[in-house]
Amino acid sequence: MSFFLDAWTWLITGANWTGGDGVTHRLAEHLYLTVVCLGIACAVALPVALWLGHVGRGGALAVNISNVGRAVPTFAVLVLLTLSPLGKHGDLPTIIALVLFALPPLLTNAYVGMREADRDVVEAARGMGMSGWQLLGRVEVPLAFPLIMTGVRSAAVQVVATATLAALPGGGGLGRIITAGFGTYDTPQVVAGAALVAALALLVEGVLVVAERLLDPMRGRRTSAKTPASGTLRGGGRSGKPESPSHSPSTAGGFDEKVIPAQPTS
């Protein structure tokens, strides 16, 4: 366990935080990569997924993309992009790779969320004479919001984690602290770098949970709809969020919100 003590010592040493290879600079690089990539990925994926969900098409696509995404090793994509002509453009290979890997959870969750929005409510809104856009903005998206945000959180954590790999082909970010530690056989530095990345991932997740609470368009109203059981069980240390009420019981075990519900289509 002395590794962790040494790592702690490394972390509280001021000299390790300053300079081009210091924690502060690497942390800033990591956050920059995370924010830019998550932003691009959201801007690309969410409109597509919301629209597909609204018109009810492309379900197989949305689900299968996430299966394909899982099979492709990020590390390989990063190296391939770095060796390609794109590699001459600084962070571009990293950003492309990270955006690619943030897309699947965003697409799948947003699409499923839209399809899982209570059909009766949607039909009722349609019956009240809402137009397509009103339906989308005032009924479906608010109902789908928890799952959309689940996708955003998964994507964010994934980007934070994946950005670590950027260090292997020589990019920036906190991964550099780990690889530099490997290079000099400095185990405390390796452990410290790993702990920093894990902490950042949890922190980002926490911030997004809070953001979700604050931004939820159905804030305060959703609680009345949730079953008492689903709120009490906690998964992953984050408080149980209300399940979207329409989850079928067989898929939403009620223990965590990171749920890709069964079979969204057909």
């Binding site: 995404g69 090793p73 390989a76 391939l80 906690r234 240390g237 965590d256």
Partner: protein, 268 residues
């Protein structure tokens, strides 16, 4: 002819092309070794993860108090980046394949525990009651009735875990045990394009192949799920009556994994 082909082959190596048959021909042994290591690490980690996940899931189901901590812990583990995970395990295990295997086991636990639990929870109470009425004890109930009915969800979990493990093994190159990842890593350092692309492609093919194989295993193990296509789901299933349709979301055709709660894909 042969001379021309060889010259052309040599050219693609010296020109550092992305696709190079000469590379595959001359370095076939290296590729095979890396692939074998890759498969070995993946298989070992998924099997070990199953061995660990099963009692964990049973414990979580048996004791309500264990439920939260088990799921919470495995979920937190899932958020640790792979590079960081291997780095954190390094001081505990020293440099070796054990670091990579352990890391992959820890990741797979999240998916497997969740899916086993979801599978067991989806077993209809009537099936349990019927089995109890027939005099089944707890063990026979578990292995004879509940587990077979939970199999589609379990297999969906195994498929996710395996496919992710194939991808994540590559990062093990940082400690020198990444299978095909080692070739990617070396190729990156020496700008050897053919090596990087070939190893990457084999890696993706491995993941797809593993997924298809597991799907085949699942279909063999759950013969009752296959009768659904003809609309007569009740025929083959004496004890399984009515259970398969809900859990067996993973019927082959779509290859979709949708039987159980699923954490986000682990990309790194």
């Amino acid at each position: 002819m042969a001379g021309a082909a060889a010259r052309q082959g040599g050219d693609c190596l010296s020109a550092n092309d992305w696709i190079c048959a000469e590379y595959v021909r001359t370095r076939g042994q290296e590729l095979t070794d890396a692939t074998v290591e890759h498969v070995g690490i993946t298989v070992a980690s998924v099997l070990l993860a199953l061995l660990v996940a099963f009692p964990l899931a049973l414990a979580a189901r048996r004791w309500q108090r264990a439920y939260g901590p088990v799921l919470g812990l495995t979920t937190v583990l899932y958020t640790v980046p792979s590079l960081a995970m291997y780095a954190l395990l390094l001081p505990l295990f020293g440099v070796g394949a054990a670091v990579v295997v352990t890391g992959l086991v820890l990741y797979s636990l999240t998916v497997l525990v969740r899916n086993i639990l979801a599978g067991l929870e989806s077993v209809p109470e009537e099936a349990r009651e019927a089995a109890r009425g027939m005099g089944y004890g707890p063990y026979r109930l578990l292995f004879g009735v509940e587990l077979p009915l939970a199999l589609p969800a379990l297999m969906a979990g195994v498929r996710i875990a395996t496919v992710s493990a194939v991808a994540l093994t590559t990062v093990g190159a940082i400690v020198g045990y990444g299978g095909l990842g080692n070739l990617i890593y070396d190729g990156m350092d020496s700008f050897f394009r053919a090596q990087v692309l070939t190893a990457s492609v084999i890696c993706v093919l491995l993941a797809v192949l593993a997924d298809v194989l597991l799907l085949g295993v699942q279909r063999l193990l759950t013969p009752w799920a296959r009768t659904r296509g003809s609309g007569r789901r009740r025929t083959g299933a004496d004890t399984a009556d009515g259970a398969a349709p809900d859990t067996a979301g993973a019927d082959g055709a779509n290859g979709g994994v949708r039987a159980a709660p699923e954490p986000a894909g682990k990309g790194a």
